[in-house]
Symmetry: D2
Subunit: 335 residues, 4 copies
C-alpha cells in the first residue's frame, strides 16, 4: 500500500515512522505548505520520493492508494473529499471535520465509492484505553455513572481553533468509545482570556439517558499538567492518569450499595464498599502503530475500522454542540 | 461571654473545644435532639450545665449571650430568628440558610437589633486560604482568570440535601472570598444516581464580568479523595491541594504574555513564562480557633465579622442559583 | 483484668483508651514522674483510681494483675523485673530493654514465674504489616531478597537515646517479623551532628544467610517525612509506604527470571517480568487495639503472645549490634 | 575540531548528536565492535566518513583531534593511553577507569603530553545539579550535614560490572562535586542474588571529616524507579528528585537550631525551624550539550575542564574502595 501524507506538523514524522513500520505499506509522498517541514522530513526519510508543497501531487498521484490528512481542521473536508473523489482511502486526523454536515457528506461519499474512511482517534488505541474498554465491555464496572476528564496544562495556544476543538477531541473520543451511547443534552462554558474569540479554557457537560453524565475540562492556561479521567460504575471505579509514567490505570473495587427501604419515599440505606485496588499491566505498543495497522487492515480486508467515519461524526457532533453552547453562554443544546 | 450551641453532630465537639479555648468565653449549654450526642458531650465536658434535647433551653436562657446554630440547614432560619429575637448574637453553620430570602431577613433582623450575625465559613480561616487571599489582595497574582475547584471522594451521602448544599459551600465560600465580586451567570448540571432527587454529583459554572470564571465539581461518589483548587492570575498561578499533608499551597511564577500585534485582527503573539515555584509556609493554627476568636471579637468590639451575614448571603445566592439551574437541566441563571 | 500503666507520655493516653476498650479489662492505675501528665490523664479519665508519681503504687498494688511499662528504655529492665517479682504480667514498650542481657534475664524470670511477657511492637499489628506477613508466609513473594526501610523526617530529637534506639525499633521489629530468621552480620554508620554522642541519623545493614539483606535508614534531620519499605522477593515485590493515606501496600507482580546457561561460568540470561500491581484492602482496626487484645488473650489463655519476650530480645540484639558497630565507626559485627 | 567516537552503545547516538550541534566541531569517525550499531549510526548520520569495527581507524587517524571513549570500563585505560600517545585529547565515559592506578597514569600522561583529559560526569551538567551546586557554593545551605542518594529500579543487569560500577558513578560524581572534600572512610555492603559475583544491589557509606556523611543505595532489582537525593545543610535542606517531570529540586527552609546550654554536658536545646519551600526554575539545556561544549572549550582554551581527570580519579577512588569493602563483607576502608 502506497501512502501519501498531507500536512506534516508535529504529528507528521510519527505518521511516517509508523506507516513505514508496517510490512506491506510505505510512505511515498508528503506534502506541506512549509518548506522547512518538508526539508526536515526529507532529511529524516530520504527515500520518500514525493516531497511537495502542493497537496495535489499527493491527491492526484495514481500510484498512491491511501492518504493521511493531517492538516488544520478547516481544510479536512475539502482535502478528504478530493482524496475520495480520486479513489483514495483516507485516514483523517482528529477532529474529523469542522461540522457534522461535512462529516456526514464524507461518510456518504466514502460509502458510495466503497473506500475506507478512518479517523485517527489515537487514544482509543493506547494500552490504557483498550484495557478500560475491556473492563467496561465485560461488565466488570457495572452500570456506568459518569465519565469525568481533565486535560489542562500551560499549553500551546492555537490561533485557528479554540481549546474545545484542540484538546477535547481526545477526551470526547475516549468518552464516546467507552460509554457507547448517544448523548441527549450538551452544555459548555468557557472564556477567551486573550480576546479574539479563541476560548483558552472550557467546561463541557454531556448528559446521557439513564443518569449517565460526562464532563470534560480542557484548558491551555494551567500551572500544572493534568490528564486525569474518572470512570465510575456501579461495581468498580477507574482512575486513568495519563501523566503517570506507570500504573496509568487504577481499578478501585469500591462503591455504594443502596437498598430502597420503602417504595413511596426516598428512604434508602447507603452502604459503602471498599476493596482492593488493581493497576493492571498495560500493553506498551505505541498507539499510532496500532492506528496504522488498523487502517491498513481495514483497507485490505474491506472492513469497517474501529474508529470509522461514524465515530468521527459522533465526536464532531459533541464538539459542535459544545462549541455552540459555549458561544451562547452555556445554553443547553438538545441532540 | 456565655455561649449556647444548638445541634451537636460531627462538628459539635470541635465547636465546644474551640470556644472553651477562648479566654473570656465558655460554652454553658448544648442542645441536640439525639440523646446519644448529649451523653457524649456531657461525658467529654462535664462542666457544661445545660445539656438538653430542647433548644428553647438555650434560646430562652437569659444567661446566654450568643448562640451557635449547627443544625441541618432547613432549621437555620427559624432558629436564627428565634435567637435574634431573644437578643442573642449568632454564629451560623454553613450554608447560612436554605434560601436567599431567609438570609436577607436574618441580616435585616440582626442589624435592626444591633446583634452580631456571623457565618462559620471555616475554610476562610485556614492558613492556606488566608495565604492565598493575601497573595490575591496584594496583586501578586495579577488579574484573576479563573477559579477551579474539585471536591470529590467516596463520601457521606446526605439524605436531606444534595451534594451542592452539602459540599459546595466550602468551595463557593472560598471562591466568593478570593474573587470578591458578584457573579453574573450560573449554570449547573448533576445527577441523582440513586433516585430521590438528591443529586450526588454536580458541576457548577459561575461567570463573572471581565472574563473571570469559577467552576466547582462536587461529588460523593468518587474512588479517590481530591480537594484541589486552581487559581489562575495573569502574573502567577496557584495550586491549592488540601489533601497534601504539607505544601498545600504552591505558587507558580508561570503565565502567558501576549502582545496584540494589530488592532483589527486576532493576531497576537503568545509567550510563555516559567519561573520558580514557591510553597509558602502556612500558619498552622486550627481554623475553627480563629472562627471562635473572630466571633468573640466582633461581638465584643461591635464590629462586622470577616464572614458576616452578607458573605453568608452571597454564598447562599450562588448555591440557590446553582441548584435551580441543576433542577432545570443546566439552564443558565442570570443574577 | 486490672491494668496499671507506668509512664504516661505521648503514648500513654492511647494505651489507656485501648485497654479500656477491652470488655474484660480496665486501667485502674497510672503513674508518671510528671505531675502535668497525671493531671491530663485524670481529667481525661476521672474514673482511674490510682494516679500517682510513685510507680510503686502500681508495682506493689495487689489489685493490679498486669503492668504496662511505657517509660524511657533505661528503666525498662528494673521496672519489668520489679513487676514480675510482684507477680504481674507485663507489656513492655519497644525497645524491650537497653541490652540483650537484660532482655534474657526478663524472659527467664517471666518463664520461671509463669507470667506473660509481651513487647508492644505496635507495627506488627497494623493492617499493612499483617497483610505483608500473610503474603510472605504464603510464599506469594517467593524467596526473599531484601528488606529496605527508610524512616526519616524533621523529628523529635531525643536527649537520652540516639536515633537507632528511638526510630529503628519500628523497622527492625517489622524486619524480624517478616524475614523470620537470625541475622549473621551487622554494621552501621551514623553521625551526631550536634555533639553529645547522640547520633541523629544512621544507616544499618543486616546480612542474613542465603543472600538476604536488610537495610534501615533512620534520621531525625530530614526535610520531608518518608516511611517507605521495599520488600523484594523472587516472585513479587512490595512497596509499603506508611505516609500514604490509602493504598499503603502495593504488590508488584514484577521480577527477574534468570537461566544459568552454563554451569562453569557466570553466563546467565536475565529476563524481566512485569505484571499487574495490586494494592490490597487493609484492615483498618487500630493496631494498639489489637496489641491490647493480644496481651489480654495471651494472659488469659496462658499462651505465648505474638510479640513475646523472644521477639523483643531479637530486636534488642540487632539494635545493640548496630549501635556497637556505629560506635566503632562501622565495624562489622558478627552475631 | 574533528572528533572520533569509540564505542557506540546506548549513549553513542547522543554523543554524535551533541558534538555535531557544536559550531566548530564535527564527528568524523565512529567505531564499535558490533556491526548493527555501526549500521544504525551510518543510517542516522550518513555524513560520518569513518565507520569502522577497528578502533585503530580512529586512534591512528591523523585527521582526528579528539577521541571520545564510550566503551566498557575495562577497556578505558588501554584506549585512553593509546589516544593520548597518538596526541589526541580525550573525553572518557564514566567511570573513568577500573582502578585508581589507571586513572593516575592517564592523568600523568595527559599532563605530560599537554592534552585535555575530561570525564563525562554528565549529571554535573544538568540544570538540577548546577542549581544545587550554586546553592551549596553560595553558602545558602550552611554547613553540609549529609548527602543521601537512592538510585533503584528494575534495571538493566550488567554482565561485566556490578551495580556499584554501573550506577554509583552518577551519585558519587554528584556527591564529590557538591561536597568538595576528600572522604576519610568508606564501607559498603551488597549482594549478588543471581550468583556470579556481580552484585545487583549495594549500600555505600562514606564518612568525611567534620561529621559530614554520604550514603548511596544503588539497586537493579526494585519494583519502582527511584532517583532521589537528600542534601542537608545547617540552614536549608534539598530534595532532588530526578524522576519528577518538573520541580526536580526543592529547597526547604527548614532545620534545627540548637543552643548548648552548658559546656560540660550534652544539654542542648533543640528548636525546629520551618519556612517556605522553593522549587527554583532549572535551565533545560540538555546536559550532554554542555559536556560537549565544555570539552571543546577546554581543549581550545587549553584550560582544565570542570570534570577533569582529577574528578574522574576521585570518583574511581570511592568506587574502588566501596567495591573492596563490599568484597570483604563491609569492612571499613580508610582512605
Amino acid at each position: 500500500m502506497n501512502i501519501g501524507i498531507i500536512g506534516c506538523g508535529y504529528w507528521g514524522p510519527n505518521l511516517v515512522r509508523n506507516f513505514n513500520a508496517l510490512e506491506d505499506a510505505r510512505v511515498v509522498g508528503v506534502s506541506d505548505l512549509r518548506p522547512e517541514r518538508l526539508e526536515y522530513i526529507s532529511r529524516l526519510y530520504p527515500h520518500i520520493s514525493i516531497i511537495s508543497r502542493d497537496c495535489n501531487d499527493i491527491l492526484h498521484n495514481s500510484g498512491i492508494d491511501a492518504v493521511v490528512i493531517a492538516t488544520p481542521v478547516s481544510t479536512h473536508f475539502t482535502l478528504g473529499m478530493e482524496a475520495l473523489e480520486n479513489g483514495k482511502h483516507i485516514l483523517m486526523e482528529k477532529p474529523m471535520t469542522a461540522t457534522t454536515e461535512q462529516a456526514e457528506v464524507l461518510i456518504e461519499t466514502a460509502e458510495r465509492k466503497n473506500l475506507t474512511l478512518m479517523v485517527d482517534h489515537t487514544f482509543i488505541y493506547t494500552g490504557a484505553v483498550r484495557k478500560i474498554k475491556e473492563l467496561v465491555a465485560s461488565g466488570e464496572l457495572g452500570d456506568l455513572y459518569y465519565f469525568d476528564s481533565v486535560r489542562v496544562n500551560l499549553g500551546l495556544f492555537q490561533s485557528d481553533v479554540n481549546v474545545i476543538w484542540d484538546l477535547a477531541p481526545h477526551d470526547v473520543s475516549i468518552m464516546d468509545h467507552l460509554l457507547d451511547q448517544p448523548p441527549r443534552m450538551i452544555s459548555a462554558t468557557g472564556v477567551a482570556h486573550f480576546g479574539g474569540g479563541i476560548e483558552n479554557m472550557a467546561y463541557i457537560s454531556v448528559l446521557y439517558d439513564s443518569g449517565l453524565i460526562g464532563h470534560v475540562h480542557v484548558n491551555w492556561l494551567a500551572p500544572v499538567k493534568v490528564r486525569k479521567t474518572l470512570i465510575c460504575g456501579s461495581k468498580k471505579m477507574i482512575v486513568y492518569d495519563d501523566v503517570e509514567p506507570s500504573e496509568k490505570v487504577k481499578v478501585y473495587n469500591k462503591g455504594v450499595d443502596y437498598i430502597k427501604k420503602r417504595e413511596e419515599a426516598y428512604d434508602i440505606l447507603i452502604q459503602y464498599r471498599t476493596g482492593d485496588m488493581l493497576a493492571p499491566r498495560l500493553e506498551l505498543i505505541e498507539a499510532l502503530n496500532l492506528v496504522a495497522g488498523e487502517f491498513y487492515d481495514s483497507v485490505n480486508d474491506g472492513r469497517r475500522p474501529l474508529t470509522d467515519g461514524a465515530a468521527g461524526l459522533r465526536v464532531v457532533k459533541i464538539l459542535e454542540a459544545a462549541n455552540n453552547s459555549l458561544k451562547q453562554g452555556g445554553k443547553v443544546i438538545k441532540l
